[in-house]
């Protein structure tokens, strides 16, 4: 079950937000911005905290209600996927979402990089992926 998807740009701003279920609480838009900013800073600190050299930032966060998966693209954009704790195969889902992002956001000539994402085709294709998993 996929609960939510957040996309954070390289400066820590929230550029895409979508909730698919009501499995986790919905926040106000202001709180979501704070959440994105906080996560962005924590991501940096966690890589510095490592007991062994060369750690990445936080990749998976586990709570009793959900798991949050984070992947960072080489350009610094972060994809945050909130799923059910028992969801399997998240890497493959992440890859699909990233492909969708590349196809319908990055290849969109009207999209300005690092700005909030408003693309109907992106929404549409994401919904298809999510529907497949959540149904």
């Amino acid at each position: 079950m996929l609960h939510s998807l957040y996309i954070i740009n390289k400066a820590g701003g929230l550029i895409y937000l979508k909730n698919y279920t009501d499995g986790i609480a919905t926040l106000s838009s202001n709180e979501y911005l704070v959440l994105a900013g906080t996560f962005h800073s924590i991501h940096v600190i966690t890589s510095k905290l490592s007991p062994v050299p060369g750690s990445s930032g936080i990749e998976v966060l586990e709570a009793d209600l959900f798991k949050m998966f984070c992947i960072q693209t080489p350009t610094g954009t972060k994809f945050l996927l909130v799923t059910d704790p028992l969801q399997s195969n998240v890497d493959a889902i992440m890859r699909k979402i990233y492909e969708t992002y590349a196809d319908y956001v990055m290849k969109n000539p009207f999209y300005t990089p690092e700005m909030p994402i408003r693309a109907d085709l992106f929404d549409l294709n994401l919904n298809k992926i999510v529907k497949q998993i959540n149904s």
Binding site: G23, I24, A25, L27, E31, L35, T38, F39, S41, I42, I45, T46, S47, K48, L49, S50, P51, V52, P53, G54, S55, S56, G57, I58, E59, V60, L61, E62, A63, D64, L65, F66, V82
Partner: protein, 171 residues
């Protein structure tokens, strides 16, 4: 599988215990050394003795603060996202490609943070065990231990060290 370190914080956010195993490098240790050399000589010796007094409380205070900050923010974030749902434990752990941080909080606000390698399974039961049969038995039930102060109790230290070294994924 490896256990790297343990941090214990009291309800007032102060580090009260720290220990590391398996030659874990502390992130901020070089930084504190650099700061110390910039201070005047008198202060330097003072802070050096402070550092040796505190080394078994918070390792080096920079790292302890960072760990506390990360755990505190993640806990808040998780609580916000689980508001109104019936969540019992909240934040449990996070993982990077090099290590995994496990978190446990007692009802009284004592926080135990355990850092292991990334492949480690859930250590929730281990943390519960540390709390209930090592902390409670040796610190809470100790009439001479002041609550919420650094744990200097040899019995606690000894049994914790023994317990951690006895874990099947210690090394």
């Amino acid at each position: 599988m490896t256990v790297y370190s343990i941090h214990i914080f009291n309800k007032k956010c102060e580090a009260i215990y720290f220990k590391q195993w398996n030659n874990a490098a502390t992130a901020g240790s070089n930084k504190t050394a650099a700061i110390a050399t910039n201070e005047p000589a008198s202060k330097q010796s003072e802070s050096a003795s402070d550092a040796t007094n505190n080394i078994d409380v918070d390792g080096d205070s920079e790292t302890a603060k960072l760990v506390y900050g990360v755990v505190f923010s993640l806990k808040n974030m998780v609580n916000k996202l689980s508001a109104g749902k019936n969540s019992t434990d909240g934040f449990l752990s996070y993982k990077t490609n090099a290590y995994k941080l496990h978190y446990f909080e007692s009802p009284a606000g004592l926080k135990i943070v355990l850092i292991t390698d990334a492949a480690s399974a859930s250590m929730l039961s281990v943390l519960r065990q540390i709390y209930s049969s090592i902390y409670v038995e040796n610190v809470v039930k100790n009439p001479l231990a002041k609550p919420n102060t650094p744990i200097k109790n040899e019995l606690f230290r000894g049994s914790l060290d023994k317990y951690i070294r006895g874990l099947q994924n210690f090394e």
